[in-house]
């Protein structure tokens, strides 16, 4: 079977004709396989959804219990037959519940990895490289300039700054699913035991992570009870990045604006967002991890999706691996 007969792009997303399903479709379809719960990959309104239990539960939290007609939970490593196509979910290390989806038929095996990262993250299962004929990789940080430093050093900078400026609130922007919980977990692992204040948009997902056995310590809503700004002096506040540009942020004393994201590697990116304390903490692979992963899968062909496709395609060419961009639309450039 030719790879493109097993999976190819349609306006709705990546489509498997023999299995008659889509992977991470951007429009409502009859049958959807979903890699992880981020909203650009996991949308509501599909007739049936196959995903990991955690991803299904996260979708239900975000969209309501009726987010799809029917759902089926995929267990990691277990193969499911979908109209004669063997489908297996493997951990992707991106966020809780995230998975790569391996589809196989007639000796052709394609792994759609969704979003993935390689470094340790105690809030989700680690990525497992799967040998395959075709590896579909994301390219969010697909440029050699992206080198994520160790998380511990980044977290140490926040803690140092919080000591240096005890009168200011430290506002860490972090996406609600995955990044926020990881940043909180990293703070705890670095020995930070004080209450961490969170924006309301994080509450449900933090509770969910807790319910899955991921301890996040004492979290309190960042609401103003007494009306005094000094309540948050020296505090660490975690919220979605968009909230910090909002009037919501005015309740905090002289905030130090921080943002936990792989994009923070680029000075001008930090500058553009008005970030004073950039934290290079990413849920995606950096350049070296992307290229190492491609090598580890042993794939003879690589398809590159959302991000900076051209550089990764070039790297593959230089290394004798056939590669092409998939030009999928609808996935956020920015979601880290």
């Amino acid at each position: 079977m030719r790879a493109r007969d097993l999976l190819h792009t349609r306006p709705e997303g990546l489509y498997c004709p023999p299995g008659d399903f889509y992977i991470d479709p951007v429009r409502p379809v009859a049958s959807a396989l979903i890699t992880h719960g981020h909203s650009d990959h996991a949308r509501s309104g599909h007739r049936s959804v196959l995903a990991t239990r955690e991803t299904l539960e996260i979708m239900a939290l975000r969209y309501g219990a009726d987010f799809a007609g029917t759902t089926q939970a995929a267990r990691l490593g277990e193969t499911i037959d979908v109209n004669g196509v063997a489908v297996t979910f493997h951990p992707a290390g991106h966020v809780l519940g995230s998975a790569q989806i391996c589809v196989e038929k007639d000796g052709m095996r394609i792994v759609a990895s969704g979003d993935y990262k390689r470094r340790a993250d105690s809030t989700c299962a680690p990525f497992v490289p799967i040998r395959c004929n075709v590896f579909i990789t994301e390219a969010t940080f697909g440029l050699p300039v992206f080198k994520h430093p160790p998380d511990s050093g980044e977290i140490a900078r926040v803690l140092k700054s919080a000591e240096q400026f005890p009168e200011r609130a430290h506002m860490i922007g972090a996406y609600a699913l995955g990044k926020a919980q990881r940043v909180i977990k990293l703070l705890r692992e670095a020995g930070y035991e004080r209450t961490i204040f969170i924006h309301g948009a994080l509450a449900k997902l933090c509770d969910y992570y807790e319910s899955q056995g991921i301890a996040l310590g004492d979290l309190q809503p960042a609401t103003v009870d007494s009306g005094a700004k000094t309540d948050f002096a020296g505090a660490i506040v975690v919220g979605p990045p968009s909230a910090f540009a909002d009037r919501w942020a005015r309740r905090f004393p002289d905030p130090v604006s921080s943002f936990a994201s792989g994009w923070m590697r680029i000075r001008q990116r930090a500058k553009q967002r008005g970030v004073e304390l950039p934290l290079i903490i990413s849920d995606h692979s950096d350049w070296d991890e992307l290229t190492e992963t491609i090598t580890e899968t042993g794939a003879g062909e690589v398809w590159v999706t959302h991000g900076r496709e051209e550089a990764l395609v070039r790297w593959c060419e230089l290394n004798g691996i056939a590669a092409s961009p998939l030009h999928l639309v609808g996935y956020e450039d920015e979601g880290d």
Binding site: P144, R269, K271, G274, E276, R308, W315, D333
Partner: protein, 533 residues
């Protein structure tokens, strides 16, 4: 080195002027000589290090990585120093562990390197540095830190350190050299103010404010003299005791690029004027002619022949040993006229006054200037002394209105650096061809003039209406029925053989988004062609 690298990192990310000042002042207060003085020189652009050209830097990095991947990286990051600092191969841990060089070590190594050794020394430094230090080192050797700090702001930080006025520092500045130990000693109150021993120092320039709505109604025309606003660059020509210097309006010494003019600076005094190309009597060249002479360190004899420069004089600040700046404008003007009369007439002339009866008459003069290299009028209060900076009231500039055209957005390109997540560079076109067979022909490209909010709106429009993608460029739906009309303002139009449309705009910018305007009603190429004739 780490403190300096950290300062650069923080300065880049600190938007507020006050924040930057605080960081610089703190740095100057807490870092020792000579590092702080070298940092100061780096910030003001006065650190002389045999420059490593950007081309050399590219060569060094492309010897170490695939040039195509480097190209993508540079295109994305938008800053050569940052790109190279990020993609440079990481050092072995044992090299960085026990040797953290000071800024003086780094500068010393670079300064003692011969021209041919420069790249080798640079490589040795980069191979031992982490990303942040690599960035700082590259910024040093490529010259021009471009981190949002002007020399003036750095001088302001010094002024804050010593609680003195910044003009005191500007006046002293060209008599001092790195690492400025005597300057810091004075600012910290340890010694007397350094003597102004150097000759031909820069005088802080007086600037004007644009005429705002309702400004003129409150003013009496009789209090003001008007002159033409020439379209060159503002300069200050100073000669004292045989020392001759030509300064830009920010106090940069640009003499080396204009030996032809400096040779004719045979006087004792300080002149304020406009640097122009051509000769005063026969032909005043356009700004694009002048551009051939700008931003060069040196100049060829051929260029001096084909593009001679002269100064059209506005003001006289110093006449011999006499400082005229406290005198009223009209008295300085009389002195200026006598002064310029004695100079080489091929290199200096007077900017004539432009008499006017009332504001309406002046408005007419502003709209219809008598010479194409005039971009408006200047208004100067007759009794105004020459004051440093941009005081509100004594001087105004009143520019000619720009030309505008309604054009259709055709292509959008992702911006660089700060705008690398936005489609922010727009190519626009106007209609050409017979009725019923109209086609858009591109006439220009603009990447500013809109607000941040408008940028977000256009960016969204581009993403929603893309019909084709070519790398960082998107082609946008643009036909007789659908598309986005942009009102484009521009300063002038040149004939161009390089562009299909035959015209090239000067200083084009987006002046309005015409969401309301149907594309079929955008302008035709004939409208622009008529402006050429």
């Amino acid at each position: 080195m780490n403190r300096f690298a950290e300062l650069l990192d923080r300065l880049v990310l600190t938007p507020s002027r006050n924040g930057k000042l605080t960081m610089m002042t703190d740095y100057f207060r807490t870092v020792e000589d000579p590092d702080r003085g070298l940092a100061l020189a780096a910030l003001t652009g006065d650190l002389s290090i045999a420059a490593v050209k950007p081309a050399m830097l590219r060569m060094l990095i492309t010897e170490r990585m695939d040039p195509v991947l480097f190209g993508y990286s540079y295109d994305y990051v938008g800053d050569l120093a940052e790109t190279v600092s990020l993609v440079w191969p990481e050092p072995d841990a044992h090299l960085t562990a026990n040797s953290q060089p000071t800024l003086a070590d780094v500068v010393g190594a670079l300064q003692s390197a011969s021209r041919s050794d420069g790249p080798k020394v640079l490589v040795r430094l980069l191979d031992r540095a982490d990303i942040s230090a690599r960035y700082a080192i590259i910024k040093l050797v490529t010259g021009g830190l471009r981190i949002g700090v002007s020399a003036r702001l750095a001088k302001q930080a010094l002024a804050n350190l010593g609680a003195v006025d910044v003009t005191e520092i500007e006046e002293l500045w060209h008599g001092l050299t790195p690492p400025y130990t005597e300057l810091f000693a004075w600012l910290e109150g340890k010694t007397e103010r350094p003597e102004k021993t150097a000759k031909a120092l820069f005088r802080p320039v007086m600037l004007s404010n644009p005429v705002g709505d309702g400004d003129l109604e409150k003013l009496d025309p009789a209090d003001y003299a008007a002159e033409w606003k020439w379209d060159g660059i503002r300069v200050q020509a100073v000669c004292e005791g045989g020392v001759r210097r030509l300064y830009s309006r920010t106090g940069d010494d640009i003499s080396p690029a204009f030996p032809d003019l400096v040779e004719a600076m045979v006087f004792d005094g300080a002149l304020d004027g406009e640097l122009l190309v051509g000769d005063p009597v026969h032909e005043t060249g356009t700004f694009s002619d002048l551009q051939q002479r700008l931003n060069r360190k040196t100049v060829t004899p051929k260029m001096q022949q084909s593009h001679p420069v002269f100064v059209r004089c506005y003001d006289l600040l110093q006449d011999g040993t006499e400082d005229l700046r406290a005198l009223p404008f009209i008295e300085r003007r009389v002195r200026l006229e006598a002064f310029v009369a004695k100079l080489d007439p091929t290199r200096f002339d007077l900017s004539p006054l432009a008499p006017f009866a009332d504001w309406a008459a002046l408005e007419d003069m502003r709209r219809n200037p008598p010479h194409p290299v005039i971009e408006g009028v200047m208004l100067k209060r007759r009794d105004s002394p020459y004051l440093a900076g941009r005081p509100k009231g004594p001087w105004f500039k009143w520019k000619r209105d720009p030309f505008t055209v309604d054009a259709v957005l055709m292509y959008a390109q992702r911006g660089h650096g700060k705008r690398s997540s936005f489609y922010s560079d727009y190519t626009f076109g106007v209609w050409s061809g017979p009725e019923g067979g109209e086609e858009l022909v591109p006439v220009g490209k603009a990447y500013f003039g809109f607000t941040d909010e408008e940028l977000r709106q256009i960016d969204k429009y581009v993403r929603d209406n893309t019909i084709e993608r070519f790398g960082p460029v998107r082609s946008v739906r643009a036909d007789r029925k659908q598309g986005l009309v942009l009102e484009v303002a521009f300063e002038g139009l040149n004939r161009s053989t390089r562009h299909k449309s035959g015209v090239a705009m000067r200083f084009p910018r987006i002046s309005r988004l015409r969401w309301d305007k149907p594309t079929a009603e955008a302008d035709r190429i004939e409208t622009l062609q008529a402006l050429l004739d």
